[in-house]
């Protein structure tokens, strides 16, 4: 171990009140200043702000600091930010240690501020003791294959493959179904472009096929994964189509007719049947139909007609592929209501929105369901969404828009239908609001119910009777009959335990795949090299799907394209003096990281840094305690424990002193200009006159949300105040507190 660090800088963040509202920063600062090795302690309103970062860099340089502790939010958010600060200041990034005093202190203990302050001191002390012992380390470089596996060839997966390929990454695109396009090919006209989903799928498919560095596998499922970031190895099972290449269209039609085996057509959500030899829809891609071997009884009828392309004895295959990164784009399932939910599967004319979409597509110029002409249609909203007490608490976001869009589309196609919308309050956010106007203009009727009083659907003489307590007419009980009830169902996570088990992808309480951080790292998972995008992450329309898809593609490409990945040097290390080569560590390590080497006349274990993942599982099994994980050695852990238990001795402060100290901090904050740049610009803008948030946002060319956030912090610090005045749009004005 190198000499202990003795010139440590400690930076304590107020986080605009998120920490300092609950932790007495001034007290913490005074106590920390007395710790061994601490050269200076500074508190800052936002440590992560650009100006604060510059101040820290200057501090480190001017004072020749040899260690740094930042006490702020979770390191999951800003570890990289401050490592970068250390690097800019010429300090080794591993001589900086982070202390989490927000998520694990001020927020968790906002109910007990004195004890939160006490805990903050202990957490920072532990970080200081760790930094004192910290070594100067370099990252380990490992080779990465510039190939990505994209799982799922819906619009998200295909777009991802195209993007990655254009950035120079080879792509294996793995689709479970025999046809590409996912859900979008099922929806007919899409909002807002009015382009049929099939066309969008067709365009993307051709782009995929044009690129030589994309290999598409359909009927393909991942069975196992080995290795890790940079070098994953995947076992893929491929079910063949049992048909070789495209056949003549006329023959294809005859073959489809000749096949006698039938099953409910999943593509049409069971509204129709399909044969054992089938295509999802006539224009589905790849063009060649497929034989469903689970259904086919090998009667041989098709073989009599076909020109030799059908080969029922094709074999299933298992292939192995290698990739540096994996992107999951496996989409979602539309919610399937429970039997009896609003009469589903009990009252004849109750169907789901997804079924209605297929019904519109498969009907000519008249709308017919179960042989009956449809005139009056009732849409019941939020089925399988916003269920506070049930499984699906989330709003699926797409469904209000989709239901109204579908109703407008249906009315355009089938002139004499009438639409009745039974909603829980319409959420056609953003530009989608114009649809609502179109629908109202064409004469659609709207009712609204609340969660406590749900509408009901019953059978009445072959029609559906809908009863609703309508909030729009002062809770009047309204009853009407409809020929068809469309349940506006939400989006739920795809039932796919398999992938969760194989990849160990974390899932949230809503069962969708979970990113590292909703705002800051929205497409990465805790598993390095594994990314998520599109409908498998949360309910999304195509626009939001594409935004996350492009982000994930860019992230994956930038990780592997250089052929090298820098890994943390946090690996196991064997002390050869203590090792007596017993092989226990070698037996235990599943990553084969141990080698046998000679050391001063004896055989000892040595860790191969590129193979070691740093899990540390080997460390407790060594009988001579010869193994430690770098930065988590016995000494480091044990001194951290000592720092936690050592008593914190506060001098008692009176309420007046507290108030003075707070005023001092505010003063201090004002003086030292640690304000984020935007806060400062807002203050400058308010110099001239009081202003409202949207006006400030417009003037500074930034988002209103950002202005709001900074404004609230400035108000908390007594630097601005709200006025009673409003502008012409009825927004309150804020002014400087002089």
């Amino acid at each position: 171990m190198e000499n202990q660090k003795s010139k440590i800088g400690v930076y304590i963040c107020h986080c605009g009140g998120n920490i300092s509202d609950y932790v007495d920063i001034e007290k913490v600062k005074n106590l920390i200043a007395r710790e061994e090795g601490v050269h200076l302690v500074n508190n800052m309103m936002f440590t992560c702000s650009d100006s604060a970062q510059v101040d820290i860099v200057n501090d480190i340089k001017e004072n020749n600091l040899d260690g740094m502790v930042v006490a702020s939010c979770s390191p999951k958010l800003h570890l990289l930010t401050f490592r970068d600060v250390a690097k800019r200041a010429g300090l080794n990034q591993y001589n900086y240690i982070h202390a989490n005093i927000r998520e694990q202190c001020s927020w968790a203990h906002s109910d007990k501020t004195e004890l939160a302050t006490d805990k903050a001191v202990r957490i920072i002390r532990a970080a200081i003791s760790k930094v004192r012992l910290s070594e100067t380390l370099e990252q380990i470089e490992i080779p990465a294959i510039n190939t990505a596996v994209v799982v799922g060839a819906g619009v998200s997966g295909m777009r991802s493959a195209i993007e990655l390929a254009d950035q120079g990454t080879n792509v294996y695109l793995i689709e479970k179904d025999h046809f590409v396009g996912g859900r979008v090919s099922q929806w007919g006209k899409l909002f807002p472009t009015e382009e049929p989903g099939e066309n969008l799928v067709e365009r993307l498919y051709h782009k995929v096929k044009e690129r030589e560095n994309i290999t598409l596998f359909t009927g393909a499922e991942i069975k196992a994964v080995n290795g890790s970031v940079g070098n994953f190895e995947l076992d893929v099972h491929i079910t063949p189509r049992y048909i070789n290449g495209m056949c003549d269209e006329a023959i294809q039609d005859q073959v489809l007719k000749a096949c006698h085996a039938e099953v409910d057509d999943e593509f049409n959500f069971g509204l129709t049947k399909r044969k054992a030899i089938y295509k999802n829809y006539p224009n589905a891609y790849p063009e060649t139909p497929v034989v469903d071997m689970d259904l086919c009884d090998k009667c041989g009828e098709c073989l009599k007609i076909c020109d030799g392309r059908i080969t029922l004895d094709q074999k299933e295959e298992n292939i192995s592929i290698k990739a540096g990164a994996i992107l999951l784009n496996t989409g979602f399932d539309p919610y399937e209501p429970k039997e009896g939910e609003y009469g589903y599967k009990q009252v004849d004319n109750v169907i789901t929105l997804q079924q209605f979409k297929r019904l519109i597509e498969s009907n000519g110029d008249k709308l017919v369901y179960n042989g009956k002409k449809i005139r009056d249609i009732a849409y019941i909203y939020c089925v399988g969404s916003r269920d506070a007490k049930g499984e699906n608490k989330h709003c699926s976001r797409y469904c209000c828009t989709s239901a109204i869009h579908t109703a407008v589309d249906a009315k355009t196609k089938f002139k004499n239908i009438r639409n009745y919308h039974v909603t829980r309050g319409i959420r056609t956010y953003g530009k989608q609001e114009t649809l609502f106007t179109d629908s109202s203009r064409q004469g659609d009727t709207y009712f609204q119910f609340f969660e406590g009083a749900m509408p009901t659907v019953e059978n009445e003489n072959g029609k559906a009777l809908i009863k609703v307590k309508d909030a729009l007419t002062q809770n009047e009980d309204i009853e009407f009959t409809a020929d068809l009830v469309v349940l506006v169902t939400g989006m739920v996570a795809r039932k796919d335990e398999n992938l969760v088990n194989i990849f160990k992808v974390p899932v949230g309480s809503d069962k969708f795949y979970n990113e590292i951080h909703n705002k800051l790292r929205p497409v990465e998972t805790v598993i390095e090299g594994l990314f998520i995008a599109g409908g498998c992450q949360s309910p999304k329309n195509i626009r939001a799907t594409m935004a996350s898809t492009l982000a994930a593609s860019a992230k994956a490409n930038s990780l592997i394209q250089s052929g090298m990945i820098a890994l943390e040097p946090i690996v196991a290390k064997v002390n050869p003096e203590l090792c007596e080569w017993c092989g226990a560590c070698d037996d235990l390590c599943t990553y084969n990281a141990f080698e046998k080497v000679e050391y001063e006349g004896k055989t000892v274990a040595k860790v191969n840094e590129a193979m070691c993942k740093g899990c540390g599982a080997c460390t407790p099994v060594c009988p001579t305690n010869a193994i430690d994980v770098v930065s988590l050695s016995d000494t480091e852990i044990e001194t951290m424990i000592d720092s936690f238990v050592r008593d914190v001795e506060f001098a008692t402060t009176t309420t007046e002193e507290k108030a003075d100290s707070f005023a001092e901090v505010v003063d201090f904050e004002k003086q030292v200009r640690v304000l984020p740049e935007l806060s400062q610009r807002i203050l400058d803008s308010l110099e001239t006159e009081p202003k409202a948030i949207p006006d400030i946002a417009k003037e500074l060319g930034v988002a209103a949300d950002d202005v709001l956030y900074h404004l609230m912090s400035l108000r908390k610090y007594g630097m601005i105040k709200d006025t009673d005045e409003i502008n012409e749009d009825e927004y309150y004005l804020y002014e400087l507190k002089k």
């Binding site: 007990k112 160990k504 974390p506 899990c615 305690n625």
Partner: protein
């Protein structure tokens, strides 16, 4: 229930259980402020001597938030961690330290509620046992 406020040391893992502890804070779900956390890569690396050091230094209980089957490194992470715990407990038994002062449970990355509930029940168990100092003091001389 006793009024004693026990100190708890948590060993968590960087990728799975530590995010759950963060999430508890983010959601302002409260637990005892005498809970301190050391984040490791994987809890299978906890050495029995760390557990013993903590107890000897005045930590009343050690809670290991393992990743269970979610562990990104090893599917047997909880089994391995259990082995270290068992070794520590052998020594604890010898020294007359109550074995329930060390506890392991698997947490997923969004297990904020389970974490808080574990902290509440573990605090209660430890409060009833009283200070570790008494236990070590009495029995170990």
């Amino acid at each position: 229930m006793s009024d004693y406020q026990p100190k708890i040391l948590v060993f968590s893992s960087e990728k799975i259980s530590d995010p759950a502890i963060d999430l508890a804070g983010l959601l302002k779900k409260h637990y005892s402020p005498l809970v301190y956390n050391i984040t490791l890569q994987c809890t299978s690396s906890v050495k029995p001597r760390w557990i013993l050091h903590a107890l000897r230094s005045g930590i009343d209980g050690v809670f290991i938030a393992s990743d269970g089957t979610d562990c990104a490194y090893r599917s047997d992470c909880s089994d391995l961690t259990n082995k270290s715990i068992a070794k520590a407990q052998e020594v604890m038994k010898e020294k007359g330290i109550d074995l329930s002062r060390v506890k392991m449970a698997a947490l997923c990355s969004v297990c904020a509620d389970p974490f808080v509930n574990h902290m509440k029940s573990f605090s209660e168990t430890l409060a009833n046992l009283g200070s570790i100092k008494n236990e070590i003091g009495q029995k170990d001389g």
